[in-house]
């Protein structure tokens, strides 16, 4: 009896097991090519991946998302080790100069015909992604960070400042005017600060200048003789020294809390920041924010590129995917759904894009504001060693806000550290 049962069980197993193995094999279709796409933060790509898989049966797309710093430092170690990198990797413009020095570790996208796509992007965006006189294409542009100014209508009203977009914009044609509005605001409102941090203001002002820390002509360190750097430092540091900033760093937990509690009234906001403010502020702050023109009219902050590390196994397939993700049709959808600003004129001048408004930000005509910002943009030149120098000035402004140093001391120390770093 027992033996019979055992025997039958064994027979059943003998039949079922191979079947299970067979179906298991059928499930793992070997013909499929798996492409990994590594991004950070918000790219809004997930639905696009699903669609791409549906229209390209042989392709499976895997997404790998990490935070900003881990993503780029991880890429550096993967490039150094020769393996581990995704097939398609996003690189932010701030890190681009660092990786441009290792262009041989990336696929030259010109080999796959990227040069024919050139006309899609605004010229400066395209230029950022190429090297070697334009012959080597390192990356295809994704979004850009067209700059506007986000402000709290309720806090402006409490300070007896105008709340209407056009009137607010008229308050600050220049950054010097912006600093004067900061004084007016701070005189009237004591339980909220005028801006988030001196660092944000500084970056916004500096990015409007054509040259920052390095001369466009010969890539020499020029922070000490470029008046634009000093001007940005003085205006932003002045606002910080007067205690008119909430002293919170973008993306950090204190920043999120400050947004939620309405601890500051303005923040220079690249297009991609709107979603972050909305997430941080939550439903209870809907309609309290608005968006208007930034002092100096335009600017750019951030924006990424899709690159292909050479170590990947499927260059052709990865290129097709990257080209599809950055194509005008997809860029338009990313803007309409997630507010990710396109870097292609045909898209940001598209009537659907220009006509779009943002309900969370008091129905501000964000499409129009950011498109105008993009059109009047003067792209700035970033030296090869920009990433080594840039943080020193942000830290210096932090010391001014903390009251540890005067503007003059902080500037001297930052300049010293920066020139030591590039020596």
């Amino acid at each position: 009896m027992t033996r019979g049962l055992l025997h039958r069980a064994a027979t059943a197993l003998a039949v079922v097991l191979p079947l299970a193995l067979l179906t298991g094999c059928a499930g793992g279709d070997n013909a499929k090519t798996t492409l990994t796409v590594a991004t950070y933060g918000e790219f809004g790509y997930e639905p696009l991946f699903a669609e791409y898989e549906a229209t390209h049966p042989g392709i499976e797309v895997k997404s790998r998302v990490t935070d900003f710093d881990s993503h780029h430092r991880g890429l550096a170690t993967q490039l150094a080790a020769g393996h581990g990198a995704a097939d398609v990797v996003a690189v932010e413009e701030q890190y681009l100069p660092l990786f441009r020095q290792s262009a041989d570790k990336f696929v030259n996208l010109a080999e796959f015909g990227a040069l024919d796509l050139r006309g899609q992007w605004v010229p400066w965006k395209w230029e950022q992604g190429v090297t070697d006189g334009g012959r080597v294409v390192l990356g295809l542009g994704t979004d850009m960070g067209g700059l506007a100014m986000c402000y709290r209508r309720d806090l402006f009203a409490r300070a007896n400042l105008p709340t209407d977009r056009a009137e607010v914009a008229a308050l600050w044609p220049t950054w010097e005017d912006f600093a004067r509005v900061a004084d007016r605001f701070s005189a009237a409102v004591t339980d909220a600060k005028f801006a988030d941090s001196a660092g944000t203001i500084y970056a916004a002002i500096l990015n409007q200048a054509e040259e920052n820390y390095f001369a466009k002509s010969d890539d020499s360190f020029s922070a000490d003789r470029n008046p634009n750097v000093r001007r940005a430092f003085d205006i932003a540091g002045g606002i910080g020294a007067k205690g008119q900033t909430a002293r919170v760093t973008t993306y950090t937990q204190p920043w999120t809390v400050a947004i939620k509690q309405g601890a500051f009234a303005t923040i220079a906001c690249p297009a991609w920041l709107l979603k972050q403010i909305e997430d941080a502020g939550g439903a209870e702050n809907a309609g309290k924010w608005d968006v208007t023109t930034v002092p100096g009219n335009a600017g750019n902050q951030g924006g990424s590129f899709l690159t292909l590390p050479r170590q990947g196994a499927h260059h052709r397939e990865a290129y097709d995917l990257a080209a599809w993700l950055t194509a005008p049709a997809q860029q338009k959808r990313l803007f309409l759904r997630d507010g990710i600003l396109p870097s292609q004129p045909a898209v940001y001048q598209d009537p659907d894009v220009v006509g779009s408004t943002n309900a969370y930000f008091s129905n501000a005509p964000v499409g129009q504001i950011f498109a105008r910002s993009a059109d009047t943009l003067r792209p700035n030149y970033r030296g090869l060693r920009d990433a080594e120098v840039r943080p020193k000035f942000g830290q210096a402004l932090g010391r001014v806000e903390e009251g540890k140093q005067t503007l003059e001391q902080a500037w001297a120390q930052a300049l010293q550290q920066a020139s030591d770093a590039v020596r």
């Binding site: 710093d69 150094a80 660092l98 204190p254 943080p391 830290q395």
Partner: protein, 320 residues
Amino acid sequence: MVLAWAARLAAPARRQRRVVLLARLDARATPLLFVAPFFVLFAVFGVFPLAYTAWISLHDWQLVNGDQGFVGLANYAALFTDPHFYNALGNTVSMLVLATVPQLFAGLGIAALLNRPLRTAVFWRAGVLLPNAVSVVAVTLVFAQLFGRDFGVANWVLDQLGVPPVDWQANRLAAHLAVAATVTWRWTGYNALLYLAAMQSVDQELYEAAELDGASRWRAFWAVTVPAIRPTIGFTAFSATVGGLQLFVEPQLFDVSGLGGIGGTDRQFQTITMYLYEKGFGVFDAGYAAAIAWVLALLCGGCVLVGLGLVRRLARRGRL
């Protein structure tokens, strides 16, 4: 064993001599084969990285682009004149002392409490180890919020006591204290358990004798318990020092800028390992970072030697 089996197959004529030879080889080689995995792993994951790091530190080596040429000891020469390195060294030692001393004393106290008859003793004993089992990143992020400038609990408590709020990240000493608090919270229980284990093997007769002599509980603790568990105290002080020299996650994440941070706006709480990370993975200067790594390793080695010397001296004087 393998060799013994092989020996059995040998031709019968010279069998006798072979067996003797192989048996001797067996006795010599087999133990070595058994311990070999450790040494192979140690060579691959211990010796090789050390040697390779030393090799990198002698070059101008960029993280992504690799070797840019041999520079000899130039990285070390630059390091020894680098004020940021000495700043990091000072911060590391400061946080090491601030974290280790309370950690060991609190551990002793908790162990003494746990060593008394307790209800649900297992619960309490397992409980003190809990902070050590929680992810260090999670612990650090929570402590960074507790020590927040605007909405932190620590400042709220100070406010209730009428003390003005502290800018924990900006102030050097305050930052060191906050980081030390994080480290202490994580490791006190671990040390307490080690002490407890040692305390339980202390001869009960010593306590009885002390009691007969009229010693108070307090006196017995310092005169009997502490001397008896001195080797364990030595070990914990030792491992806390080496661990403290390599302090990284707690201070790095205490900086609101996260991985991009340099320990505050003026490196006020940047440790040696953080400086290594900034150089190696922030600006991709692997050669310089490798030099820092080696200097740090030598520092740890120096501490170990000094510690061993102390232990030996104590042992010779019959104290251990």
